[in-house]
């Protein structure tokens, strides 16, 4: 794990400070602080319904925050003008929990959608890119001409990942990427994320419940409970933490099966 631990002083590409987010009179995130460093894979865990997706959406500017600050690449999203914002949006890729492929476009067109919008290149090049991304996420090339409604749940996940990688982003947001994949597929997926992260210097913010992913690819883990990050660090830190939820999570029977030796 040492090789993958990022330098302590690495630059933070995402900086969240004292974030408060709520809906109506319910406060979901309450004074949350989090840093994500360049080139690391951060695993983000927490109870179901605890606000992991909400945090992701807040960082992406899809949910309004009540107070606090969220900086991506050192810039506060709210202060950017339209052009700067669009430049920023080219630098991140997002895999939504439900895939969110455009249902009226084929998989290939889905992947080419951001390319067509932002880059000027020939159709042949765009086809090359689409097929390369499709192969990279482990799909067969005949998927390219299929509509999203003709794909299985796992294939949708992969196709959506291919689309989020279309512009070779610097930050990749993944909301439960390996749920719905078979264990071998999930393993490949983890492998792929690691490859991409190493070759492209990608920073990955990954919401996950998959203990295998946490164990094999995540450099660092942050845990969310009661609207705050209650612990962050390596698996070892998590396992030593006293919070009852972390105790249950990292010392449950499934966790023991994965972390065996350390547990």
């Amino acid at each position: 794990m040492d090789a993958r631990t990022p330098a302590r002083h690495a630059e933070a590409v995402i900086e969240v400070r004292d974030l408060v987010v709520g809906f109506g009179d319910r406060v979901i995130l309450n004074g949350l602080n989090l840093d994500v460093y360049r080139g690391e894979i951060l695993g983000f865990v927490g109870t179901s319904g605890g606000g992991k997706s909400v945090l992701t959406r807040t960082i992406l500017g899809l949910v309004r925050k009540r107070s606090g600050s969220v900086k991506v690449f050192g810039q506060e999203l709210g202060t950017l003008n339209e052009k700067e914002r669009s430049l920023m949006e080219r630098r991140w890729g997002v895999l939504f929990q439900q895939g969110a492929l455009f249902s009226s476009l084929t998989v290939k067109q889905n992947i080419q959608f951001p390319l067509r919008e932002y880059l000027h290149m020939s159709q042949a090049m765009m086809d090359d890119v689409a097929f390369a991304k499709i192969a990279m996420v482990g799909l067969k090339s005949d998927v390219a001409e299929k509509m999203p409604s003709e794909l299985s749940g796992g294939m949708i996940k992969r196709a959506a990942l291919a689309r989020s990688l279309a512009l070779d982003p610097e930050i990749l947001f993944l909301d439960e990427p390996t749920s719905g994949l078979d264990p071998i597929g999930a393993g490949d997926f983890d492998e792929l994320i690691r490859t991409l992260q190493q070759t492209l210097g990608l920073t990955v913010f990954m919401v996950t419940h998959d203990l295998d992913s946490l164990h094999t690819v995540c450099d660092r883990i942050a845990a969310l409970a009661d609207g705050k990050v209650i612990a962050e660090g390596t698996i070892a830190t998590m396992m030593a933490a006293k919070h009852p939820w972390l105790q249950a999570y990292f010392h449950g029977s499934r966790a023991r099966a994965v972390f065996g030796a350390q547990g």
């Binding site: 455009f102 249902s103 192969a135 990279m136 090339s141 070779d168 070759t199 492209l200």
Partner: protein, 370 residues
């Protein structure tokens, strides 16, 4: 971004700068130019020492250089590739080996006409089939009245009936007024202004009232039904109902159609009254026909038959609108586009069938002298 030079009888392609997404368009052109200019060099060396950054776009173009020359029998030597990109380049050269799948075909004109014809036939069959399923579901419900979804129907009644009242009243009022105003204009030439009352009364009660209300409801509630059921289909909610042992027709369709069958006659009544009121006001202000004269003449001009003819038609039109809208909703496929297409189809077909039915009713009532 690349420079090509000859060296010792071979070719050296030197890359420099950023081979990234942002510059991919320009780089592609240079790569293609190099490939076109040197189709069959003796040896090739691709020197990447000058490339500062590379992403999948750059790696793909490198792969294109390599593959094109390889197929013409020259194996290029790649040098100077920064080690951190080695894995990426390897990954990319692994991809794109499979042949691309055939494109989705678009249909030719003649083919489309043929398919449309077949579809019209299939549509008619599906409609009949669905009418059967609905009637059967209703029959089952009559046998087991407990299973009737009363709450759901009341909710629908509120949506399609009660909430439609203001807009129906407004539109029929305006149409009644316009009818009277235009009628006055012509009857005045013959000094027969009073006949405008007959015109408005008969036309509205017999034909226009029910027709306009039905068309409005087809647009307003028919589209809502299709969109609701369509969205449920897309989210697999309808499938969830079936696997839990419910009949989607019974749960979703019957309450909606019953609600329409109850609401449309009521709305027709309200709309007709509103249209006559509009006619009355227009006749008063344009033709000086006072309300008491108008009502006196109305009593004389129309009888209960006229009113009944209009009201009889309403439930049948409601049934057709409901059936078409629900059927289209349940046929929605997985995409947002399909939802839009079926909603449009539902409204167009419902309005078409309403007008066709009105014609059939006219023939029917004429033949029984009503």
């Amino acid at each position: 971004m690349i420079s090509v030079r000859s060296q010792d009888g071979g070719l050296v392609v030197a890359g420099r700068g950023a081979w990234t997404a942002h510059f991919a368009g320009a780089l592609e052109q240079e790569v293609d130019a190099a490939l076109a200019a040197h189709a069959r060099p003796a040896t090739v060396e691709i020197d990447l020492a000058g490339v500062e950054r590379m992403d999948t776009f750059g790696a793909l173009l490198l792969e294109r250089l390599r593959r094109t020359w390889q197929t013409s029998g020259v194996v290029p030597r790649v040098t100077g590739l920064a080690p951190k990109y080695a894995e990426l380049v390897e990954e990319i050269s692994r991809t794109g080996q499979e042949p691309p799948p055939p494109k989705r075909r678009t249909e030719e004109l003649l083919e489309r006409i043929g398919h449309t014809m077949v579809d019209v036939g299939k549509d008619a069959m599906a409609l009949l089939n669905f009418v059967g399923a609905t009637v059967a579901a209703t029959w089952r419900m009559i046998l087991r009245p407990k299973s009737f979804r009363f709450t759901s129907m009341v909710n629908q009644l509120d949506q399609v009936g009660f909430r439609a009242v203001p807009i129906i009243m407004l539109i029929t009022f305006l149409i009644g007024a316009i009818l009277a105003q235009q009628g006055l204009f012509y009857f005045r030439r013959f000094g027969a202004e009073i006949y405008v009352v007959d015109l408005v009364g008969v036309l509205v009660l017999r034909e226009l009232g029910v027709l306009i209300v039905a068309i409005m409801i087809a647009g307003r509630s028919g589209s809502a039904y299709t969109a609701e059921l369509g969205a449920m289909c897309m989210q697999e909610e309808v499938d969830a109902l079936s696997v839990m042992g419910f009949d989607p027709v019974e749960v979703l369709v019957v309450p909606r159609i019953l609600a329409l069958i109850i609401a449309l006659p009521l709305l027709t009544f309200i709309g007709s009254m509103s249209a006559i009121f509009g006619g009355l006001l227009a006749a008063w202000s344009y033709g000086g026909i006072t309300p008491d004269v108008f009502i006196e003449r109305l009593k004389y001009a129309i009888d209960l038959d006229q009113f009944e003819v209009g009201m009889y038609k309403a439930p049948f039109m409601a049934f057709v609108i409901g059936i078409v809208a629900c059927l289209e909703g349940l046929r929605v496929g997985g995409s947002a586009e399909s939802l839009g297409r079926h909603t449009t189809a539902a409204v167009v077909k419902a309005i078409f069938l309403v007008i066709v039915m009105d014609g059939l009713f006219a023939m029917f009532f004429a033949s029984i002298d009503l």
